[in-house]
């Protein structure tokens, strides 16, 4: 389980994340919503201990990001925004490399790589250089490296951004199937995605948490049942289509 307490991050004068607190339990898929620049990625980067917070703390299954960052990373599978990858490696080499750095032993590595290639449907491009892959395959390769050690926690930064509708559907199905025994946090600004995969949603804007509840709750706030209107009303603070908060 992930527990975030009063996590903050400032870059100079700018408060990117301002005292955010929340919890994610096993089996939950938390949708992290917010306009661009709201602090979604920054929060995720702090939980993965890539950047250190200016204040507050987060624990992942009891391990603190401040005192035991390496232990935290072992428990997390992380897919960064835009899925950066080593372009000159093949998919197979890359996945073996991450498996090795994850500390999997020789036999386990081969099995783990086979498994994630199957899960993320990468069989056709297994021995292709990453440089030559399409965007969809790159995303899936990044997803595969996040899953390689069967982590308890999955953190996905805009996993479906830039994918075509079929690919989006596939990724969502995959996330749902994985969610049973994991904590999943995913950020997105596609609102149908929240309805489709998330059990809970958090909306943040300008670094502050503005909403925390079930996705269905969000929909009920609008008489027209439009999540978009609710999102806009919450993040702009203005009345939108009869929704005001």
């Amino acid at each position: 389980m992930i527990r975030v307490t009063e996590l903050s991050k400032s870059f100079g004068e700018i408060k990117a994340v301002d005292k955010i607190s929340f919890e994610v339990k096993e089996g939950e898929v938390l949708g992290f919503l917010g306009p661009n620049g709201a602090g979604k990625s920054t929060t995720m980067k702090m939980i993965t201990s890539f950047i250190s917070p200016s204040g507050g703390d987060a624990t992942v299954f009891g391990k603190s990001i401040l005192s035991e960052p390496i232990e935290v990373r072992k428990k997390i599978g992380y897919m960064p925004e835009n899925a950066p990858l080593y372009d000159d490696m093949t998919v197979d080499e890359f996945l073996h490399y991450t498996a090795q750095l994850r500390g999997l032993e020789k036999k386990g590595q081969v099995k783990a790589v086979e498994k994630v290639i199957e899960m993320c449907a990468l069989k056709d491009v297994q021995f292709q250089t990453i440089e030559t892959l399409s965007k969809g395959y790159k995303r899936r390769t990044s997803m595969a490296q996040a899953l390689i050690h069967d982590p308890q926690v999955l953190i996905l930064d805009e996993p479906t951004d830039g994918l075509d509708p079929n690919q989006k559907h596939d990724v969502r199905t995959l996330i749902k199937s994985l969610a049973k025994d994991k904590c999943v946090i995913l950020s997105t600004h596609i609102l149908e995605e929240v309805e489709a995969v998330c059990t809970r949603a958090i909306i943040i804007s300008s670094g502050k948490k503005l909403f925390d509840g079930e996705a269905s709750e969000l929909k009920e706030k609008s008489s027209l049942g439009r999540i978009d209107d609710v999102f806009r009303a919450i993040t702009t603070g203005q009345e939108v289509q009869g929704v005001s908060l």
Binding site: I70, K74, Y78, P80, P84, L85, Y86, T98, G103
Partner: protein, 248 residues
């Protein structure tokens, strides 16, 4: 002694020198140039001096390294930061120190490999006369250490910027300054505003001075310490910079 992560990163990085054009371009240019300048036909030429040693070889090593080694080091971190893969690497259970060491050791091993590839020059000298092999060995060790020092400086500047060109230029300039720290023009310039004590200190940092003694086959503990301190200090700086700036 070396942690599992360092070894894994080292292997991956080293392999990349042999699967990308960078490695081949470096090796071809380095080996061709060093072969040419060692046996060039100038006044201090190997064939004029008629001595079976590698003094002309070691005389040119610092200058070739000065241009070529920063080309190897410039991409080490700048590329990771530019492409965002640093976020991938440093959210794996790997510390910054392990990553810095892995990458540095891989590039150093690559430089070492290139030095080993100059063995035909040693064979030539051995064929022509009876060289002192110990002198040659110490000279090679000095070259390897000098390469390491340049690389460590390069690592630092590569971590400092996302731009590989800036990283290259800064490394060349800094390596040049440290190499020539003992030369009259630089010392004269500094003496206009620096106290005598600092001037001596600066002069003692001259890499060429420490390298040349080794090139002549003199091995002093002080020189070994000098290179060890230079390498570790710059790598430590690289680690600190990455801790601070990796996300920006």
């Amino acid at each position: 002694m070396m942690s599992h992560s360092v070894k894994t990163i080292l292997k991956k990085e080293l392999k990349s020198y042999f699967t990308t054009p960078l490695g081949y371009v470096f090796s071809i240019i380095f080996l061709f140039s060093i072969g040419y300048v060692t046996f060039e036909s100038g006044r201090g030429s190997f064939f004029v001096l008629r001595q079976a040693d590698l003094s002309s070889f070691f005389r040119y090593i610092p200058w070739l390294f000065l241009l070529l080694v920063p080309a190897v080091s410039m991409r080490l971190w700048a590329e990771e930061r530019k492409s965002g893969t640093i976020e991938l690497l440093l959210t794996l259970p790997v510390t910054v120190r392990e990553a810095v060491l892995g990458k540095f050791l891989a590039s150093w091993a690559f430089i070492g490999f290139n030095l080993l590839c100059t063995f035909p020059i040693v064979l030539t000298v051995a064929y022509l006369g009876q060289p002192d092999y110990l002198v040659i060995l110490i000279g090679y060790l000095g070259s390897f250490l000098l390469g390491g020092a340049y690389l460590a400086i390069g690592c630092f500047f590569s971590a400092l910027t996302k731009n590989q060109v800036i990283s290259f230029i800064c490394t060349v300039v800094f390596c040049y300054l440290l190499t020539m720290a003992g030369s009259p023009p630089i010392l004269e310039f500094l003496s206009t505003f620096l106290h005598r004590y600092f001037l001596d200190l600066f002069e003692s940092l001259s890499m060429i001075h420490h390298f040349e003694t080794m090139g002549r086959g003199v091995m002093r503990v002080g020189d070994l310490w000098f290179f060890a301190v230079i390498i570790l200090a710059w790598l430590y700086g690289c680690e600190a910079i990455l801790d601070e700036k990796k996300a920006s």
